[in-house]
Symmetry: C2
């Protein structure tokens, strides 16, 4: 008899795998976000960056990347795009010549206020097919899983630690 009856390879190796479900759901989430927010010409990551800069004015790019769990290398170009749309400005830090501090412009703060209802519609639509109790259960499990897996990917600092030395704007 065969020593190891290998299971046959089927598409279930893909469809039932957590990795596929996470990729597919991310795809769907971005698609819904872009649909609801197309009037604002902002991507999900740009939105997250605006929220974070609004919450922590004067944050620098490295700490911002930790706060929104976004790769530092890519963040430069994201900030550049926000800057070219005049939603964000960069000022050199007086006490450290390496750092550039990030601030929302007036129109950056304005678009943030305007886009929030659309973002909330998008977030609601992502979970709309589920029953309320299921939505709650899914969000709790995802929050837990993301939290417990937090050290895995390359985010250099945990979000809380990232803000330790940010002066008064914590």
């Amino acid at each position: 008899m065969p020593s190891k009856p290998l299971p046959p390879i089927t598409m279930d190796a893909v469809y039932a795998a957590p990795g596929y479900l996470f990729r597919r759901m991310q795809q769907i989430a971005v698609s819904i976000f872009m649909e609801e927010c197309k009037a604002f010409d902002l991507t999900p990551v740009q939105y997250a960056a605006l929220i974070a800069i609004h919450t922590h004015p004067g944050i620098d790019a490295t700490r911002l990347s930790a706060v929104i769990a976004f790769d530092r290398s890519t963040l430069g170009s994201v900030i550049e795009r926000l800057q070219s749309k005049h939603f964000v400005e960069r000022k050199p830090a007086p006490e450290d010549k390496r750092i550039k501090l990030l601030y929302l412009t007036k129109s950056g703060a304005a678009i943030l206020r305007e886009i929030i209802p659309a973002v909330e519609r998008a977030q609601a639509r992502m979970l709309a097919p589920l029953k309320p109790s299921e939505r709650k259960a899914l969000m709790e499990l995802m929050t837990q899983l993301v939290d417990l897996n937090n050290e895995v990917s390359r985010v250099p600092l945990r979000a809380e630690d990232a803000l330790e030395h940010l002066g008064k704007a914590g």
Copy 2:
């Protein structure tokens, strides 16, 4: 009194939002996959493509994109990379000059057999922080949600429909 007491904008608008959790979890999932599979130099998408071509030999690129829910435009370069690694070959379809049929090479089939244990380790690690009952609940909710949201993003055909005319290899 104010007409509309806007809630203050905090980072919870990001952290508690489904969109953030899906993006972050996708990030973590890819990171774990690459870590477990680094000996094979295959990305998650390339792995899914190999599985699909193995399961449906002679599939064309458009149908493949539907089966693995992957954008048609990008798939060209994915196939190219698989071809340059000699894991996949493309043959012109005799009855339709537009189409190129996809097949695994011997070394493509071999690497698929070899990588599967590593992929299974990766998939297990993604959910490892949860209790078994929670894993099951999360996978059921995610499967349901992806299924019910299936029409949202740009996949041109549902996976089942994509294979209707694929001859005997269904």
